[in-house]
Symmetry: C2
Subunit: 381 residues, 2 copies
């Protein structure tokens, strides 16, 4: 496969965009990416989205978005639940890498706030096993609560030990104009926030939202070396869909597999990663990702947060633009937001949360409670 | 992109499979394709599906199906409404063609009969424009009824002139053990059948159903020339999602574009196609496809049917295994069924509906009322 690079990025502010439709926010991100890339169209569009069929009564999102954006270009939707954005980049990468297309737009879009929150909760649960998890009465946050409780029990952490994941995310989001939440939080607020599903409270959890993000990709050999943003590693891995089927529910096997494959492709290891946009849907997921990807020993993820290693000045900066926690989590779009943010870091566009001399960045996108995990490594070179 | 071939096929009988879940029928088709290919696993799974989120309360279909099939392999869902099956093959083709994967399973699956027909009608309508078509009160069959009525008016056909499309499909399905409907129909029955949305009656329309089909693909250069089934052409094209936005709603522009691109790739023209599995969701769509793909002049599609040109012995055999009309139309799976059937023809496995010496076959899969159209050409060589 020929090397592929990202030459354009676009994103909308994550919000409750009641005055806009899903096609509008997708087209906004597309036009921003086209402008950034200095292009007018693309040979194909790969759309990451999870729940348009349920929440927006709209499948066939490809032509809907291509049409509204004014691009009569083949367009297809790729779905891997909350991992849809990363899956869309993988599809676009293979299309351009194979030579089948010369250019592609990779778009993540989700419009979640037009329905009652109960309906959104039901839609989110479609990421889990409908027959053997959801039909038993558990919600998606409930599944994550089982993970967090077990993690605390096994490794001896208390709830407050997870606070720094959220505090760091909120602090970073203050400097991201596209973030959903623009307020810092304190340890006291973290501990006192409303309980959602014990032990997960409001400040452990990422907010939903409406948003779209886009990448413009081309063959790397057409670009001048030095400031290219290459897709140096790309890998997906699959675990059981149901949490209870995993021999060790506290180990993200698919994160391990996909990160190892991506490291190998990129010729790097965890120590080389300058910035890591991970999938902090819930604070405990940050710990599990850091461990599975080789940044911490098993059960020691929270230590990195407590020791301040995850800030933009730390040894492994994460959620530098706010993460899912404070930038927001428009589920099918999130994976593309992560990649846009890594590009911003590698370009040095992140102002107060810029990681000094960031050259290699990683984004990891998770669908379900670890069922589909897609890892990308980007390199400036 | 390196050439890719199909070495295994599998399918389930299209039915009301109330005793099976969506993961079970998908795994059945996968295991049949693996057995046919003489393989035990694959490097990736590409799943075509449209409505699992709405009808089966299940997104994240990739790991659900991979898990149940006993394959811990990366798996992703591709959605282009009723064109999802063809879109899944295109995704798999680019993955194997690019060298990113060595083998892939392409699966189409849909489980539609577990809910009330009203819910299925609502789910089918998500293939159209939710805001500007469906919210106005029109259903998906209603949109096709507008097309058919206009077609009859513009070109002077009467309803009975479309009967031969359905009669041919039912006659061919008699010899396909996987078909949903196993009964022949007459012109009189066609004319007297229940009205659905004037002028579309029950025998103009394809039945929904539960079904899964699968293809196993590998690089062609690993195979011995002579009896390989090559994917010689593959192209997708997009039109407006809404019917009313098209300058000419009786011309399938995306069918024209994608078939022209596929012809060019394969180095063939309409006259070289030995068998054509087209997307006869409604009889009028057969006419439009035949015209857009160069088999008939504008407005003259029904003439081919009336003259007996579409039977297995005719000049351009279509729906040789029953088509959507009688084999059945499990929407997101249909595109893969079409491809499986073309492979069966090229292998000479079709018994009484075998097209003599079939060597080049085409499959065309449509998402929405012509919004996404994907054309594949397969060649035995």
């Amino acid at each position: 496969m020929r090397p592929v690079a990202i030459i354009g990025i676009g994103q909308t502010k994550i919000d409750e965009a009641w005055e806009k439709s899903i096609r509008q926010i997708a087209a906004e991100a597309i036009h921003a990416a086209l402008k950034d890339a200095g292009r007018e169209s693309a040979d194909g569009i790969f759309l990451g989205n999870m729940m348009s069929g349920i929440i927006n009564s709209q499948n066939n999102l490809g032509p809907l978005v291509a049409d509204w954006a004014g691009l009569k270009t083949p367009a297809v939707k790729v779905d891997a639940a909350c991992g849809s954005g990363g899956a869309a980049l993988r599809a676009g990468l293979m299309a351009v890498g194979s030579g089948e297309l010369e250019t592609a737009l990779v778009v993540g879009v989700e419009k979640m706030t037009d329905r009652h929150p109960h309906e959104v909760t039901v839609a989110l649960a479609t990421a889990a096993d409908a027959d053997y998890e959801v039909d038993m009465g558990i919600s998606f946050v409930g599944l994550n609560a089982l993970i967090m409780r077990r993690y605390m029990y096994e490794f001896g952490w208390k709830h407050a030990d997870f606070a720094q994941f959220a505090i760091n995310a909120h602090a970073n989001a203050m400097h991201n104009p596209y973030a959903r939440l623009h307020h810092t939080i304190t340890l006291e607020e973290f501990e006192k926030s409303a309980m959602i599903a014990t032990p997960i409270n409001l400040l452990d959890a990422s907010p939903i939202g409406d948003g779209a993000a886009a990448l413009y990709i081309v063959p790397a050999d057409s670009l001048q070396a030095g400031s290219r943003i290459l897709i140096a590693g790309s890998a997906a891995a699959t675990d059981t869909i149901a949490l209870h089927d995993r021999p060790d529910p506290l180990f993200l096997a698919a994160a391990y597999k996909s990160s190892q494959a991506a490291y190998q492709q990129a010729g790097v290891g965890p120590g080389d990663i300058d910035v890591f946009e991970l999938h902090d849907a819930f604070t405990v997921m940050s710990a599990l990702s850091l461990e599975a990807c080789g940044f911490a020993e098993r059960g020691q993820g929270p230590r990195l947060a407590l020791d301040g290693k995850l800030t933009p000045q730390g040894s492994i900066p994460v959620m530098t633009r706010g993460g899912l926690k404070a930038r927001g989590h428009p589920v099918g779009a999130t994976g593309v937001y992560q990649l846009v943010e890594v590009v911003q870091q590698l370009r040095g566009e992140c102002g107060k949360t810029q990681v000094p001399e960031a050259r290699i960045g990683m984004a990891q996108n998770i669908g379900g409670s670890g069922a589909t995990i897609i890892t990308h490594i980007l390199k400036r070179e």
